[in-house]
Subunit: 273 residues, 2 copies
């Protein structure tokens, strides 16, 4: 939602956070698919004209199902993230010093939840774009709790990130994908640790901006019908925040991302819906 606003969208946006059942990243594909179906039903019942699956785990395991079952455009975050990663890998290969020109091409390293890595969604998405870059994935289960705890700098995040990033770099990763929507808050730590280990800056890509760009293009091309008007509205006028647990803790985080005029989040019931 933040990335869509940054991209200049004036669309009305309904945001649904399944706070009573997160995190999804440790659950089986079967359960994630069941949860995703319930979330999608609630949003389509509200008449949305397009669905952005702003979660890597759901994008990785349930996107095909959602695209098959829904008659509106469904955009995931894995393909835009893979696109950004391939672009970064091409640039990294081109910028190599002459003495490394015959080395193997950089690999694309992906940090994600257990569900995202186990699904193989990133290797598949990269493979559809280019056969030149090998993808190596690594589940990083401690990073979501670190972000939720607000523990974004200091020794513990550095050591945890090092434990996940070091094997990727040792296996030849020249680009690191933050394959979970929580991880961008740890991007400075990932960049710093990766540079320390590699001895040079390592490009670190996340999918939020790339996904917002895809949505903006689809609106411009008419593949999603564009809204007219909407200038001068505040966030509270055109954003709707829905959560499945009590809104208390969520509201504070939402205000960090959305600033003033953040609408009040409302609790909805998915289970009996």
């Amino acid at each position: 939602m933040r990335a869509l606003l940054d991209a200049g969208s004036s669309e009305r946006i309904v945001y649904l956070g399944d706070t009573a059942r997160v995190p999804y990243g440790t659950r089986s594909a079967e359960t994630v698919i069941r949860y995703a179906r319930g979330c999608a039903r609630l949003l389509t019942e509200r008449g949305v004209k397009a669905l952005v699956v702003a979660c890597n785990t759901v994008s990785a395991v349930a996107l095909d199902m959602l695209q098959a079952e829904l008659d509106i455009p469904v955009i995931g975050v894995v393909e835009p993230g893979a696109q950004a990663a391939v672009e970064a890998a091409v640039a990294a290969a081109q910028n190599r010093p002459p003495e490394e020109a015959n080395d193997p091409l950089p690999r694309i390293g992906v940090l994600g939840t257990q569900g995202t890595i186990a699904s193989g969604a990133y290797p598949r998405a990269v493979g559809r774009l280019s056969t030149r870059f090998e993808v190596i994935g690594r589940p990083a289960p401690l990073l979501v709790p670190l972000v939720e705890e607000g523990w974004l700098d200091g020794e513990v995040p550095r050591l945890a990130v090092r434990r996940y990033v070091e094997p990727l770099l040792r296996e030849g990763a020249g680009v690191i994908v933050l394959g979970c929507t929580h991880y961008p808050l740890l991007k400075p730590v990932v960049e710093q640790v990766a540079e320390e280990i590699a001895g040079r800056p390592v490009p670190v890509v996340d999918s939020a901006r790339a996904t917002a760009k895809v949505v903006t293009e689809m609106l411009a091309q008419g593949r999603i019908p564009s809204r007219t008007g909407g200038g001068g509205e505040t966030h509270a006028d055109r954003l709707e925040l829905l959560v499945t647990d009590l809104p208390g803790g969520f509201q504070k985080v939402a205000e960090l991302f959305l600033g003033e005029h953040t609408p009040a989040a409302c609790q909805v019931d998915l289970v009996s819906g």
Copy 2:
């Protein structure tokens, strides 16, 4: 379940792990109560004669509701844990060197989930047993993910534990309660870190053994009808393992705790149940 078996129980035990919705510790009391009600219904429909709430968060926020709504004995883990903590605090007070005899009494420090600490269940339970010992609580949200990641020694668990334990000791804790069923796997780290900070061993108590003792006593006293026979059965004969997500990952952990003859876990559906 492990503690009940260690206590010599020959009862048949049905274990339900809500693996599709854990962790509960970060959710609102309202949501935990709703989930606990569903779990209890599934177990009572299977005809259990007593219910052990082997989760601190559910014990802290939903025990009164479960005891009011069910017509079988319901045993939580908070009261036995509080009992063990008071006993340890009494012993710690008695064993003080003479020159500290007039110092304030040791406080009881509790590490728990956000839900458990916010509920105030430990201060209430300790207050019912003794008014001499003040309870100070501290949410330790990173410890469950550390245990689930199997990250039980080394620098990261030590630093995380230090961050949670140091303020408790600084505020006068002379006993530390592991107020979450995940934490006992980190008990050696907690003991080591606490001793380093305090300059002397600090008693660390957990509630599993204390709870199993309460259940064993209730069986011996006939407050829970005791089963006759059952000798020579394997675990597979008398234990039943139910989970709400696919059993794969759970099964490995169960075998670590229960050893050979661990029954195969079965998936059950709470949502539509």
